[in-house]
């Protein structure tokens, strides 16, 4: 797997092409893109600031990748997570899974997102248009979603 943490935006088409360009053994590609919404439960959001723990991110993602590969016959997996200050409407995270058949691609992508949400060391702070900052609280629903894979 490739895991990248970067401030710059990602280009889904270019990333997909890098994984599958010219290959004839791929039947299914799933991409997930997470974006900054302009409000969170009615509270307006101007920017989202993402902080992370770089050394642990890498270690944790390697573990998550090994888990995904042991469960599903995926050919390629890519995770790109942005950090720093992002504006409403911008991309946050990209997951791409590539497999011969669709179910493995769908399941692995869902699994990676659930694990990213509950295990990867990233934290989001929302800043309202008036400058007030609020750390995003974890959703109990994310833990429940991740539990599905146990």
């Amino acid at each position: 797997m490739v895991v990248r943490v970067q401030h710059e935006d990602f280009d889904i088409a270019a990333e997909t092409d890098r994984l599958v360009g010219g290959r004839h053994d791929v039947g299914a590609i799933v991409t997930f893109t997470g974006k900054v919404r302009g409000d969170d439960g009615g509270r307006p959001i101007a920017t989202l600031t993402l902080e992370h723990y770089p050394e642990m991110t890498e270690a944790e993602m390697v573990r998550i990748e090994a888990e995904a590969r042991s469960r599903w016959p995926v050919q390629e997996v890519l995770v790109v997570h942005r950090v720093g200050e992002l504006r409403a409407g911008e991309n946050i995270v990209l997951v791409i899974t590539v497999a011969p058949h669709r179910q493995a691609a769908f399941d692995a992508a869902g699994f990676l997102m659930d694990y990213l949400k509950t295990r990867a060391p990233f934290w989001k702070k929302e800043t309202a248009p008036d400058g007030k900052g609020t750390w995003v609280e974890a959703h109990a629903g994310d833990d429940t979603a991740a539990e599905r894979w146990r």
Partner: protein
């Protein structure tokens, strides 16, 4: 306290835990008697009010030992890096 009764550990803080503690990282010499994550939290709280604030609700602060998620009861062992942070909110 003799030197061989302590070990040097690197502490890292993230998100609002970092904001409350006031630093993102520090090196501390831990007594050997501080043997678990929860014992380390208690030891830190005696160092200053900022730790008391950061760990006011210890159940919502998570920890990692050498970059692996652990429970509060986990033994520190020969750990070199301990991180404290709120539940993660990436993705």
């Amino acid at each position: 306290m003799s030197t061989d009764a302590t070990r040097r550990v690197r502490l890292l803080y993230f998100a609002w835990v970092r904001e409350k503690v006031g630093v993102s990282t520090e090196e501390v010499d831990l007594p050997q008697t501080v043997a678990s994550v929860e014992a380390l939290v208690e030891w830190l709280k005696q160092r200053g009010p900022q730790y008391g604030e950061a760990f006011a609700r210890p159940q919502v602060v998570r920890a990692a030992l050498d970059r692996v998620h652990v429970k509060p009861t986990a033994a520190l062992g020969s750990v070199r890096e301990v991180a404290f942070f709120p539940p993660v909110t990436g993705g």
